[in-house]
Every structure is written in C-alpha cells, then in structure tokens.
Amino acid sequence: MTDTTASTHSAGTTVVTHLHKGDSPAPEVPTEQILAVSAKEFIPLWKENLQGLVNKGMDTLTQPLFNWAGRNSLFPLHLGLACCAIEFAAGFGARWDAERFGVVPRSSPRQCDLLIINGTVTWKFSHKLITLWEQMPEPKWAIAMGNCATGGGPFRTAYSVVPGVDKLFPIDVYIAGCPPRPEAMLDGILRLERLIRERHG
C-alpha cells in the first residue's frame, strides 16, 4: 500500500516522498522520478552552498588576472570639455604617448572603463555627464583633471559651473593644475593603476 504525499522543503521547493506501510515490498519508483527528485533537491543545495563557493573560488583564481588586464588597459572616454582637453589631447600625441601605458581613448562610453573629466563642467552639461558615466560598464573609474573638475577652478563661484565634479559622482584620482601638464595626467593614470592594484588586486 503506497501513498504519495507532498511536503514542503525548507527552501520552498516541493519534494515528493514515498511512504510504504506494512510488509508489502518496497514500491517500484520509476527512474525518471528519481532523477527529477534529485534535480529538485540539488538546485537549492547548489544555490545555498555550492554556487557561492564555486564563484568565490573562480574569483580568487581569476581576479588577479582580470585586475592585471584591466589596470594595464584603461580606456578613457574621448571627451574634451575645456582647455584641459588640449593637454589631454597632447598626452596622446607623439611626445607624451599615453598609449604606451595601454591608455587608448575610445569614442563610446560603452567601451570605456575610465572617465577623465578634463575641464569645466556646467550645470547644463552635468546631466549629460552623469548619463555618460552611467552608460559605462562596471568596473569603472573616474579622474578629475584640472582645477575646474576638482573644485570649480577659477569659476568656482560662477552661477553656471559645478564646483567640483565629485558633486555628481565619485572620483578616484584628482589632478591639480590649471591646466595640469600631460606628465601630470600620466602620473594620475599611473596612480590610478596603483590604486586599482591595491584596492582590488
């Protein structure tokens, strides 16, 4: 005599158990049903314990590799806001050649992991800048280049200028100067590389 009852598993999944009474022989359970029960029990087990462990293990193995690859190929957005953008552009020219550090400006925020804000940010442009920042995929970093982006610069008290772009989103490295020379920009990028290594390495 066999009856099948359903009991609710702690994780919310329904597990089918087979009860048999008296001395009647153990019932034949079809193989497919055993498999189905196993899968149902395995999923919560996987979700609760194994998945996290496996992911963590994979992360431990791959994190240094991704970190090394990421910090040595920081792709900034090709965005010029004001006079500092001239130094930014010079930094990618023949004399300073930022590309030897793996820094290649890209034209789409979807392909970037670094936003260099090189110039004066106005309130009118701030919404567009936030949109660009949000379009960039994680992980991403931001550098405020020049006094304007750092704290408003000579226009700090102006009615139209954001006094420091960290009012809009978090900044990792600040570069002082009006404008900072391309060497300073390269130094800022190298400091960001060191910061990525120390913070996530």
Binding site: W123, K124, H127, I130, T131, T157, Y159, S160, V162, K167
Partner: protein, 162 residues
C-alpha cells in the same frame, strides 16, 4: 515702390509710412542712427525695416539691466545702405516683456532666448521660448544686477529630463 538708397531717405519714408513708431533719434559713431522705439510698435517697425528699409539681417539682440529699468537693443544690418541701425526699447524693471522679432528675422530667435535666459526679459510670441545657456528648470536670471552669489545646492537642477 523702389528700395531706399540712403539712410536720410529711409528715415524720411519711415516717418511717413510708419507713424509714431519711433520716439527719439540720436547719433553714435559706427551706426547709421540709434532709434528709440516704444515697446508696442517694435514689430510693426521691424517688419517695415525688413521689407522696405533693406535691413535684411538682425545681427544682435541684447538686454541691459539699468536697475530702475530694462533696455533691449537690436542691431540691424543693411546690405544696400552698408551700415548698422540700432533700435533701443526701454522696458519697466517689473515684468519686462516686448514682442518677439523671431518671426521677422529668424536670427533673432537665439538672441532672444539668451536675453530671456540671462536677464528674464520675456519675448511675447516667441516661437521657441526655452532657456538657451542655463538648464531648463534653473530658477534664476543670473545676469540681473539683483542676482547674488549662491551656494551650489541652490543652483543645481535636479531633474534629469532637461
């Protein structure tokens, strides 16, 4: 009717054909004349200047805050007369507004948007009455003399749909 060929001729015809459109006339180096225009007749005068007076190009619209009153200045260029004409409209300090010349010279549209944005002078009948330089939703007209320095929190426009 033939086009005007000199400024005195244009002025004489202007006075005959658009009566009461100007209240004063003065000279300034660099321009043909400076005409003081009462606010209600500016569009009538502008249409005449464009169609009959050969002033085909409005090169500048600007506002001046004189604290006790506001002034709007227009610079018009004539290819035939090879010179600029300056129109000046005096407006009250409280709620200054004047007819838009965007329908007469398309080039005035952006200048009037800028004047509205920075000085708060309204242009009635403007085809596109938005701010030009400051974000939509900005609460101030910052080139007014009464505008004072403010904290950034007051200036920030929070809405993302601008």
């Amino acid at each position: 009717m033939t086009a005007v060929s000199s400024w005195p001729e244009a002025l004489a015809r202007l006075k005959a054909e658009v009566p009461d459109a100007i209240t004063g006339e003065s000279a300034r180096p660099g321009v043909l004349a400076v005409l003081a225009v009462p606010a209600p007749s500016i569009r009538r005068l502008a249409t005449w200047l464009r169609d009959e007076g050969t002033f085909s190009h409005c090169s500048l619209v600007l506002g001046i805050d004189w604290i006790d009153h506001m002034e709007v200045v227009y610079h018009l260029w004539s290819d035939a007369l090879k010179g600029y004409l300056e129109l000046s409209v005096t407006l009250p300090a409280e709620d200054p507004h004047v007819d838009s010349l965007g329908g007469v010279w398309g080039g005035a549209i952006w200048h009037e948007r800028e004047t509205w944005d920075l000085l708060g002078i309204r242009f009635d009948g403007h085809p596109d009455p938005r701010r030009l330089l400051m974000p939509e939703g900005y609460k101030f007209h910052p080139l007014r003399k009464s505008f004072e320095l403010r904290e950034p929190e007051e200036l920030e426009v929070k809405s993302r749909h601008v």
